[in-house]
Amino acid sequence: MSHKPLKLIIIAGSKGRVTVKYPYQEPLITPEFRGEIEIDPAKCIGCGACVKACPPNALELLESEKEVILRYFVGRCIFCWRCIDVCPVNAIKGTRNFELATDKHTDLYTLVVHTRTTCEICGKPFETTRMQRYIAEKSPVTEEYASICPDCRKRLLAEAVSARRVGISEHKE
């Protein structure tokens, strides 16, 4: 029998204890670690780009007559930070936080509530107030359409077209 196995004692001795006294010590995560995200409610315009990009539906847009709510459910979040990649106004910040255990499930949700504008023509609820302002700032040319909902915009366009080609109406409700 070889005496090689005895070498293990030497290896073990030279290594000593490698486990840390977590949670009484800083956890061993690198600066690169991706953890929970933080949405800055002052910056978010409620555009929903992050919702479209989020792979597990951790971000959702809940819409009602008066409000659009961006809801972040950390229980579903996979910490991929795709939302951060796509947010047009940098409203989302990545943190290194991963200690998320809680005894209140409501702690797992973050809500950003937005007020909604209504369409100037049909009066139906439309994009968030902030979103409207954002678009107006970005491209002043569209300003005259900015307060008209996509349905009405389509209808206006169709009417304009059919006004030229009399008889063909593409009007759809």
């Binding site: 029998m1 196995p5 670690f33 597990p56």
Partner: protein, 542 residues
């Protein structure tokens, strides 16, 4: 790179069989009528000595009124993918089975039968992936079946097999070797295993259906990565490469280098994990602890490079999301140096521990012929003298820029499978060093590209457990069809050979020796069922 002579024989074969062939990139697409399928598969597999990877059923009825069945082979010597497609009737799809000439096609045919309702002639058929209570006319992967439809589950207990001659010993379904649900039924005569029955596919996640119905191209990367908790990056890379191949995207070199680097980091962690588990199963827990201590360094390295210890989340169609700067490069090199030193020191000790060596040597033998016949993958193949490795044979990402050895052993026993992995750890360290040294400049992500509909991409990526294959048919904003086959899918059938005629006590280590990843294998079915498994223990008295 493509050898013209090699492709001509496929084109001739296709025209001889009343079909057509076209070549796109490294893939030969052959379309033949169903009645010639067995002949063609026989020639491609047995005469041209290719590897059979998987078959995929596709519901093409919304496009052309037909179902189709695609058999995927790779000609590893020529660096070619061969996709053999047949169109089947849209009303009652029936295809001839190729299992008589390609035994490895057994499972994938049954999967196509369960999920798409394609019937097979010339073989015994059985339900493979769907639970027993699943309605018989409900085919999850048909396009008209909604992804979130859940039929009412029925509780049904599966009975333990019974044998007059032999004792029956259930192994699993909760913890056969790893913490994953897989069930083996061992028939024993005294201490010897005489036969094995296997029942898998307990974990139904519906990954393919989900991607096809609810997600976008870029979101699927993250879903793909979650197919496996150990080698997920393999899946997201394989998916991204398949889509990029289909769309003919020119992905920046630097991104491909980073993919290869991270793939090798993942391989090291995966091999060290398995070595630890193997030592644990052999009762050598000191070995387990030390290997995992060494492995911790790799996990931290992965986090440094990608932002996550596991499920790295940096792959996108078109490239990667995290770059490697000079500081990270130096830290990686330093970590690898230390890792190499520590691993070498320790593994020499561990492998020479008498109980480890004795129990690994000569147990769980898989002879070469069986390995070839079953088209097994990765270290299982290489330990049985089958010299195949997709990194060398079908180079992808940045593997064509590095040189490395592919360790091959001929013994086919548990020790050989362990030694293949030990050697590969050292090769992986060297590969990462070479890649970091040659890392080209430039961007890491392609933006602004289009993915045309109706294109096909097939990609194999060598996972730590062997070749992983993804087949993508592009659709509108998302894959129209996405077929995934993890290597364990190909390796489990070989367990039957390995376990037979072995002492019962060696069963757990033999099962572990293929480094099984059951959840990857089970990835396909639609509904997470609420069924309660019940194994009735009949008397084990002989």
């Amino acid at each position: 790179m493509l050898n013209l002579e090699e492709t001509t024989k496929y084109i001739e074969l296709a025209s001889k069989s009343g079909g057509q062939a076209k070549i796109e990139g490294d893939t030969v697409f052959i379309t033949i009528p169903p009645d010639r399928l067995v002949d063609v598969a026989d020639t491609i597999f047995n005469k041209y000595n290719t590897s059979f990877r998987v078959c995929a059923g596709v519901d093409e009825r919304p496009l052309n009124g037909h179902f189709s069945l695609v058999h995927l082979f790779t000609d590893d010597k020529a660096g070619l993918y061969v996709a053999v497609k047949t169109y089947l009737s849209g009303e009652s799809p029936v295809a001839p089975s190729i299992t008589s000439v390609v035994p490895a096609a057994d499972w994938c045919e049954m999967e196509a039968r369960d999920l798409l309702g394609i019937e097979f002639t010339g073989r015994e058929t059985y339900r493979l992936v769907l639970p027993p209570w699943w309605p018989s006319n409900l085919y999850p992967l048909r396009k008209e079946t909604p992804y979130n439809y859940r039929p009412e589950p029925r509780l049904e207990s599966e009975k333990l097999g019974y044998s007059r001659e032999y004792g029956v010993i259930p192994l699993g379904p909760y913890h056969p070797a790893l913490h994953e649900p897989e069930y083996f039924e061992l028939y024993v005569e005294g201490e010897r295993v005489v036969d094995v029955k296997y029942r898998g596919f307990h974990v139904h996640r519906g990954v393919e259906k989900l991607a096809e119905s609810r997600m976008s191209y870029q979101q699927v990367n993250f879903l793909a990565e979650r197919i496996c908790g150990i080698c997920g990056f393999v899946h997201s890379t394989c998916y991204a490469l398949a889509v990029e191949k289909a769309a003919k995207l020119d992905v920046p070199e630097r991104a491909q280098f980073i993919r290869s680097i991270v793939l090798e980091v993942e391989r090291i962690h995966s091999h060290l994990l398995l070595l630890g588990v193997a030592f644990h199963l052999l009762g050598y827990d000191a070995g387990f602890m030390h290997i995992w201590r060494i492995r911790e360094r790799v996990m931290q390295l992965a986090e440094l490079l990608t932002g996550s210890r596991k499920t790295y989340g940096i792959n996108l169609v078109g490239g990667v999301r995290r770059d490697v700067n000079e500081e990270k490069k130096q830290k990686t090199l330093e970590a690898l140096r230390e890792l190499g030193r520590e691993f070498k020191n320790f593994i020499e000790v561990a492998i020479s521990v008498p109980q480890v060596k004795k129990r690994l040597t000569g147990s769980g033998v898989l002879p070469r012929e069986e390995a070839v016949k079953l088209s097994v993958e990765g270290p299982v193949a290489r330990a049985s003298g089958v010299n195949k490795d997709a990194r060398r044979d079908l180079p992808y990402a940045a593997y064509k820029y590095v040189s490395f050895k592919v360790p091959v052993y001929t013994e086919g026993d548990n020790l050989a499978r362990v030694l293949v992995r030990v050697d590969e750890v050292f090769e992986s360290i060297s590969i990462i060093e070479q890649l970091l040294d040659k890392l080209p400049g430039g961007s890491i992500l392609l933006t602004d590209f289009e993915i045309p509909e109706g294109r096909v991409g097939v990609q194999v990526v060598e996972a730590p457990r062997g070749g992983d294959i993804h087949y993508v048919v592009t659709g509108k904003g998302a894959p129209y069809r996405w077929r995934v086959r993890a290597p364990t899918y190909a390796n489990i059938p070989a367990l039957r050979v390995m376990l037979r005629d072995q002492p019962l006590a060696d069963a757990p280590i033999t099962i572990a020796s293929i480094d099984p990843c059951f959840s990857c294998t089970d990835r396909v079915v639609v509904v997470r069922d609420g069924r309660i498994e019940e194994i009735k223990l009949t008397q084990l008295v002989k």
